[in-house]
Symmetry: C2
Subunit: 179 residues, 2 copies
Amino acid sequence: MTAPDLANLLFDTPTGIDDLSVPAKTLLLAQDRIADRLYLIRKGALRLFFADGSGQEISFQFFFEGDMVASFASLYRREPSLFSLESIEPTTLSVLGRDELFARIETTPAIRRAYEEKLADRFRSYQRLFLSRITKTPRQRYEALLEERPDIVRRVPQHYLASYLGITPVSLSRIRNRR
Amino acid sequence: MTAPDLANLLFDTPTGIDDLSVPAKTLLLAQDRIADRLYLIRKGALRLFFADGSGQEISFQFFFEGDMVASFASLYRREPSLFSLESIEPTTLSVLGRDELFARIETTPAIRRAYEEKLADRFRSYQRLFLSRITKTPRQRYEALLEERPDIVRRVPQHYLASYLGITPVSLSRIRNRR
DNA sequence: CCGGGACGATAACATTCGTTAAGAAACGAC
DNA sequence: GTCGTTTCTTAACGAATGTTATCGTCCCGG
């Protein structure tokens, strides 16, 4: 907590920020579209997911109060996003537009540094997720998640959790109720 | 092939390059150590792998003639490498030291650009590997690999391949000899 | 040349997971 | 409140994988 938080640096400003309230299941960014905004979650929860070839949806990240969310790659490179972003609860968001975001990054070195830190964080979380997929069985992944992020297990609907863990909802139900 | 290749930019120079020949199974970088060199493979093959908690080894990338190899994160941030690097055939390498590498990146814009491209490539290949682990069954992953990189299937010993695909050698043998 | 180790195939068995289906419970819209 | 949808549980079955073990082959070192 020594360094000022990027969320404060970006969103605690009088101008350029819109607020937005949406019900659950609202699509905030669709796969294949180009992201043009950065969100800060004031209250509620979002999931990041993608659809594989066969129409299956796979959730792979969840976000809650205080989290900043965007398809950073899409924002930065103006490329179609590989993922979709959707609310899983009624959610209140603060919204920062793309141009405004990059203007602040350019003009304020502290914001630039914090932003680059954020990107590095995202990369590390990718690596961890990747390694956990490789090294652990679904059962172990569930138990690790329960240990590390009980809030996620409590708050996220099970069928989203199941796809996050790489298993079917049926299998997750079996694991939870051991035998 | 329009842009000059990073390997040429870095290694086609009269000075600062050492050559190195090693037999198979030579450890070139050990997990938890800090990388201090960038390799270019002149002849032979390497694998990148890590050991999970239970002593299992998991290979997750293979490299051949013309490939540049390093633990880039470790090299750049001087952090302990998450992975080990080992030869799987008798291999001849050109070696560029860390300081020399970054000196060239600093002084030559073309090298900097090509290097950043390289890093972006690595990130994309990570994402692809991640998605393939999530969306495909072991059998599908094997068939995709056979389709896209038959050279890897031919050249890499099967037990390394198996861990790359996320299955046991026994299971890979079964898949290859269908039933 | 010989011996040991690495590598791969195969078999048998247990375990886990996916699929399909049906029903209960929670939730929302009206 | 009621109806319908979504979510979760449970069961039964089949398919795929893991585990353990054995065997044959190949390669390398001495």
